[in-house]
């Protein structure tokens, strides 16, 4: 009985943390517009701009190659934003209100992650639907489930990564420069924009294979279109699951510690 009421309380706390982020997302109209429009710019401008270009060993059109990368990019940006929004809460004092509540820190992290993941998945799915409308070929409908699982794990990993940065960062300025410093190379080396093929310099390929985002995008590409992927999507999934658990664990650990 006691156990039950305790876990019910934690669930309610997780729910309300999630609910708060949904309300925030819906009400911050400029954020809704910019986070949806930005990846669409990439999809349309890069997609149609490079559509006549061919890369050695690339199957299908460039737009179809690019779409999985842009889906991942939308999820990555949105989730990392959630992770580091802990900084905002700290700045505006709201974090204290959350931390004095009789709720375990783990529930706070879970609620926040679920909230961030929901928003990110909504944005990723929107790009997916648009890509499908543009004629993106898919392996089969069942495989989309695998794609969604990878999208969820990508989102959790990015929230965890954001939490790690947030618990180490002092202020927004530092955060912005770190974001640019880390995200840009991660994206460019992730195979989001061009295939990581044999013809590339070895150092560049090595860096790509060391890039966690590479496996996420390769997994989405493989499970969704079945074209241009380097590894079997299930192998990607295994690697991503490992990364996800590690990063989330480290993120919650640091979040716990930074507030003690």
């Amino acid at each position: 009985m006691g156990e039950e009421t305790v876990s019910h309380k934690e669930l309610q706390a997780i729910y309300v943390m999630w609910l708060r982020q949904m309300k925030r997302f819906v009400r911050a109209k400029s954020r809704v517009v910019s986070t949806i429009v930005e990846p669409l710019f990439f999809l349309f401008i890069l997609g149609f701009g490079f559509n006549i270009a061919t890369f050695p060993g690339m199957e299908g059109s460039y737009l179809y190659f690019l779409s999985p990368g842009i889906i991942a990019m939308a999820i990555l940006f949105s989730s990392m934003f959630t992770g580091v929004s802990v900084l905002w809460d700290r700045q505006f004092g709201f974090l204290q209100e959350v931390l004095v509540a009789p709720i375990s820190r783990l529930s706070i992290v879970i609620g926040r992650t679920l909230g961030g993941a929901t928003v990110a998945l909504f944005q990723g799915s929107l790009i997916l639907v648009i890509a499908l409308a543009l004629g993106l070929p898919i392996v089969n409908v069942g495989n989309i489930i695998l794609t969604v699982v990878i999208m969820v794990e990508l989102s959790f990993t990015a929230v965890g990564f954001g939490l790690i940065i947030a618990s180490k960062m002092q202020d927004f300025e530092g955060f912005m420069s770190i974001m640019n410093l880390i995200l840009m190379p991660l994206l460019f080396l992730s195979s989001a924009f061009f295939p990581i093929s044999e013809s590339l310099p070895v150092w560049l390929r090595t860096l790509s294979f060391a890039n966690p985002l590479f496996y996420m995008i390769d997994g989405i590409r493989g499970s969704l279109t079945g074209m241009n992927n380097v590894l079997d999507p299930l192998v990607d999934l295994a690697i991503i699951t490992f990364l996800c658990v590690t990063v989330m664990g480290l993120g919650s650990y640091l979040f716990n510690k930074s507030e003690a």
Binding site: E97, V100, P102
Partner: protein
């Protein structure tokens, strides 16, 4: 019954001792205040008592639960109104309260009932569906007090509840605090650097400076220690006159400042002619004199040797406090 009891509670930040072995207790139903200048260690004490900071040494109990080992129980028994607003500005007043109620595990019926009760208590019923970002400073503060009360805590912590508010709003907030202490029987622990606030609200106060408690007593007793009336006078040769006055048994607490003296006496109006006679006899010229009832500022002055209103002290301590907050939260001011 002691609702709050601390035992040599101490917090140091990088070698700087913000709170230095403080021990005190607060009884059920009491309004207890910590009075001290900025940077005295008031907020640090509240953060330790509310489990946001871990004490370096010493311990404390809230409603008999240990703040180090029974954090969850402590958190269930406390409501906190922080010094800086801690509201989600994108949500409405009602939604902020609902968020809080769910975090504290209130049932749906309890939530609906308490939200209405506390909003009525702080006169915010008509603004409940307005986004908090459109609230004035006073409304935000009232909403935070209402939120602190949502889960009917045993003790409510108020950290500088009227900081930066205008005179009218302060007055209104004082009334709410008094009211909820009476109506909801909530024990209240507040910190302030306003003398009048401590004077008006608190049953007992502790004067805190440089992380140490100098004295704890009822407001009346503290005022009596400086005399029934306080006389301030400006004169020539301050030092000689001070020595002369200190020799009189009916004069207490003679304190010397740059060009003035303050001291406590019984029935001050009658004593002024006597003091002028002494001055004439010792060849001291008095240029101005003032008699008034003692305030907590006099109490503070008599225990710390300096006024809380000294602007220099204010500036340096608040800068020190900012630095400390940087350490604590790692945030940019």
């Amino acid at each position: 019954m002691d609702i709050i009891a601390t035992d040599a509670l101490t917090k140091t930040f990088d070698g700087f001792t913000a709170v230095d072995h403080i021990s005190f207790s607060v009884q059920k139903g009491e309004i207890f205040g910590f009075l001290g200048p900025n940077g005295a260690g008031k907020t640090t004490t509240i953060k330790m008592l509310t489990t946001l900071l871990t004490p370096t040494s010493g311990s404390a109990t809230i409603a008999a639960y240990n703040i180090k080992t029974q954090r969850a129980n402590v958190r269930e028994n406390i409501g906190v109104v922080f010094q800086e607003p801690a509201l989600e500005t994108e949500l409405t007043g009602r939604e902020n309260l609902d968020f809080h109620a769910r975090m504290y595990g209130l049932s749906k019926d309890q939530r609906l009932q308490r939200i209405e009760q506390v909003l009525t208590l702080v006169d915010l019923m008509d603004k409940k569906d307005v986004c908090v970002k459109f609230y004035s400073g006073g409304m935000k503060r009232r909403l935070e007090i209402a939120r602190g009360l949502m889960h009917s805590p045993t003790v409510l912590f108020l950290d500088e509840p009227t900081l930066g508010l205008d005179a009218q709003t302060r007055r209104a907030i004082w009334e709410y605090i008094k009211h909820l202490n009476r109506e909801e029987h909530t024990t209240i622990f507040l910190t302030t650097h306003y003398m009048d606030e401590a004077d008006y609200l608190c049953d007992r106060i502790g004067i805190i400076d440089h992380g140490k408690i100098l004295v704890i007593d009822t407001v009346d007793t503290l005022k009596k220690t400086v005399g029934n009336d306080v006389i301030t006078l400006t004169c020539s040769d301050v030092q000689r006159f001070q020595q002369r006055l200190a020799a009189e048994p009916w004069i207490t607490n003679v304190k010397q400042h740059t060009s003035s003296l303050t001291f406590g006496v019984e029935s001050g109006e009658e004593k002024i002619p006597v003091i002028f006679d002494i001055a004439r006899a010792t060849n001291v010229t008095i240029s101005s004199v003032n008699v008034r009832r003692p305030t907590l500022d006099d109490v503070f002055l008599s225990y710390t040797g300096r006024s809380m209103r000294e602007p220099d002290a204010e500036k340096t301590t608040s800068a020190a406090k900012k630095t400390r907050r940087l350490f604590r939260w790692g945030k940019k001011q």
